[in-house]
Amino acid sequence: MAQIRIQNVRKEFGAFTAVRSSSFTIEDGEFFMLLGPSGCGKTTTLRMMAGLELPTSGEIFIDGEEVGMKPASKRDIAFVFQMFALYPHMNVRKNISYPLVSQGLRGEEVRSRVAEVARILKIETILDKPVGGLSGGDRQRVALGRAIVRRPKAFFMDEPLGALDAEFREHMAEELRALHDRMGATTVYVTHDQLEAMQMGDKIVVMNHGVVEQFGKPQQIYDWPATKFVAQFIGSPPMNFLEFEGMIGVGGGAIDLGGIEVKVPTSREGRAGRLTLGVRPEHVKFVSDGGYRGRVSAVEYLGTTQIVTLATSHGDLKARISSGHRVQEGEQIGLEFDARTLSVFDAETGKVLLSDGNQGVLRHG
């Protein structure tokens, strides 16, 4: 098992820079998510850790050993591909035992290791079948089996659930997480699905355009996004942005939103000019006499909650409220924001201003 440390890693493909100077640390035994939209460099980062790509510059440490330029076969890691990459000319048993054979293991040892893995993954009955006829879930299990059979230092997974049907995904996600908890192996998992990342990960790195935007625990990232990109990318519906001209001083605890005072966590940074107030939809409250008002333009019913879209003087705003609340389109409603949960961003750079709320989360990264 292993700690993995990425330091100033950069990857260029000709004129295109896929990853710019990424740094983060994955602790031993963590289930670590690399999250971002397609083309953000997350897969390239993973492939560099695995040794399938070599970094242009920077260092990668696995268990304290610098492996940046070592071939994949020398890193003692396992990789699960999105398209499984089971060897089509071999049956399930051969696929799973293949990595063992390359290590020079023979006969009884291979048999018992494969049997053990098959038992863990509950695929004993399909061991002698060709991989061609297997269902998506079984293929995924075989791919996992091929990864865990070698007892590697770390598991790298590139959107392993991406090829599965939606209903089966949920199930496999749980299975994967349970498997991880049982084995306690460091796992790095690439996904573009923020729900998957929040649901399964111990820690998340959010990447965009080859840059690490934020790094932390799922709840920290959700509650205290470091940039507007993270705020938008995580959460469904995403964080609301209210753009305004104004200022906030060090130690200031309120902003002026179109003549109405809105309390925010005490700021640790001063800024004047174009700012953005970030509000999560569930932190919007409907009140009868609030100074800040919006007109209901749409209502989406979601079962226990509903998403109400309101037109305000600073653009559209979505609120998540209980379905019990009766709301009519066209209605004017007073709004209040939960002061402890708000973020203020510099609209130019997209970076959040440090405050009493987020400084504990953002200082370490």
């Binding site: 399938l52 076969s73 990789f79 398209m83 499984f84 990595p99 390359s102 991989v131 070698r150």
Partner: protein
């Protein structure tokens, strides 16, 4: 009667069947003609109207493997009674076998040169195609175009420069020279065909093998090659058929030593009159290796071995 958009109707099936059978008859007829002629006597072979039913004889096959001499009555007596079945067969016409013909030797040359160039083509072609498919080769597109451009004119158009080159290199009328020539002509086809097949194999297989602890070469050998088998088999068949049937260069560049069967077979006809059955027998035997090779590889041509292992 129900209608389906995807299933052909009964009438369409009949029509398609008749077309296929008709086409098969047209393509098979010349083959049947040659094979039938090879078992006819010289008289039957040129009979008009052509004989569909005839008494089969292996005279053609005996003639293609032997040279014969016509002897006078006294000479024949001096030689004595024919000892073997084939000697008796030619004795009917007042001939004796004076020795083996060069057919077996030419046939062997064809086998060496045909299969030699095919093997070389596949080895070089697979390696080149793999590199073009997987690695960042500088000027890749230009190189591929250049490779293909060697086929943009009929190869025989460069016969004279090749002839002169071969003469100064001492490759004229040698096995090595012919293998080299056919390989050079076929290589562009082989690289392009194989690159297409290797492109189809997802690179993740090799990456999986690399991570499983194999070297690049082992990954190529154990994972890519088995999956490229279909492509390699069909490419090999194309290469062999070209090298096997090639006539013009063989006439030009070979004579005594490395001559292949195609330029030799027509010369049979002049040995003793118009011996069509012998020519037909030579042509029939000449068909056999390619046929056997194709049948052996047919399994690979028909089997889609990557089916189902990748979810696309």
């Amino acid at each position: 009667m129900s209608y389906s958009v995807t299933e052909p109707s009964q009438r369409q099936k009949w029509f398609a069947g008749i077309l296929v059978v008709g086409y098969a008859l047209i393509t098979i007829l010349p083959l049947v003609w040659i094979i039938a002629t090879s078992f006819k006597s010289p008289a039957d072979a040129i009979a008009y109207p052509p004989k569909t039913f005839f008494t089969p004889t292996v005279e053609g096959y005996v003639n293609v493997f032997t040279t014969r001499t016509r002897l006078t009555e006294e000479q024949l007596k001096a030689v004595g009674e024919p000892q073997t079945w084939y000697e008796r067969l030619v004795r009917k016409d007042g001939l004796v076998i004076s020795g083996p013909s060069r057919f077996a030797e030419r046939f062997t040359n064809s086998v060496i040169i045909g299969f030699g160039s095919t093997v070389l083509c596949i080895v070089l072609g697979t390696a080149a195609a793999y590199a073009f498919s997987r690695f960042k080769v500088p000027l890749k597109d230009d190189l591929l175009f250049f490779i293909l451009s060697t086929r943009m004119m009929p190869p025989i158009a460069v016969a004279i420069p090749i002839f002169l080159m071969f003469r100064s290199l001492g490759l004229n009328d040698t096995h090595a020279g012919m293998i080299l020539l056919y390989t050079a002509v076929n290589l562009s086809l082989s690289v392009w065909l194989l690159k297409g097949f290797i492109d189809e194999i997802p690179v993740e297989y090799e990456e999986a093998a690399l991570i499983d602890g194999y070297t690049r070469f082992q990954a190529f050998y154990k994972v890519v090659l088995p999956q490229a088998a279909t492509g390699i088999a069909s490419t090999a068949i194309f290469c062999l058929i070209f090298a096997w049937n090639e006539y013009a260069f063989a006439v030009l560049l070979t004579s005594g030593n490395a001559q292949t069967a195609p330029p030799f077979i027509p010369t049979i006809i002049g040995v003793s009159g118009q011996d069509w059955p012998a020519v037909a027998a030579g042509a029939t035997l000449f068909l056999v290796p390619v046929m056997v090779f194709t049948i052996l590889l047919r399994k690979h041509l028909l089997r889609g071995i990557t089916f189902g292992a990748v979810r696309k």
